[in-house]
Amino acid sequence: MSHGDRDHHAKIATGKGDPQCFKGTADGPPKFKVGQRVRIKNLPDIFYTRCQVYTRGAVGEVAVITHESPAPEDEAWGHVDKSEWFYIVRFKQKDLWPEYPAAFANDTLQTEFSERWLEPA
């Protein structure tokens, strides 16, 4: 686990923090913009995912571009050599749950995704 060099993370992150230590390590600028409509991809979730099933296929709006970090599906096995941009995406509750009361049409939910989970809507 986090094979080999047990000092690696301390070396890159001391004095900076995590995810600050991954700043500048993604392959390029963020692909999506704040305000952009995005759909959550339904990639196979074999073995591990932090992209909640309840969000799959839903369409929301990028609310915040947060930081760069290895995706959890990779970090969960200690792979930290690749980073992605992360986004907080906001959904209307009525778009997630068919029984959500129409009386509360303003209610929203937001959660965070690494870039691989998003596609333009």
Partner: protein, 145 residues
Amino acid sequence: MSSDTRDEVLRHLLAVVEIQPPVQQTGKAPYSWNITHEQFRAYTRSPHDVGGEVDVPVEWTEEHGEAWGYRAYVTTEVMAWRGVWCAEERRRMQNVDLGTTQYLGLPYYGRWLLAAARVLVEGRHCTLTELINKLDEVKKRHVTR
């Protein structure tokens, strides 16, 4: 398509409630065609992914923690501090790898503790034999109830 996925997601959230361990009626594992797509997804889902599942109103409580649990928490964080693993590896082992039955059945810090034990062996810091012998030795110093 988006609406097909949403339909599938909503069926999944009902199906996970219905998953039960296979009853040994036939004495053999089911054929693949006995497992629906919803059941396959429910069986192979990450157990920690519970958002949107049906549950009932409860009386919320505060909990006075147990000392061994806080010690286990410290152990897992210190392991991450010293580079044995990172928090995400811990979450995978602790909240997903152990499977739904243990996930829903064990104490909260019990899962942290099992993950810490797991990484010792999985990360080849000790052999399972060493862990078994150490645990046996600790138990012999005490009487386990």
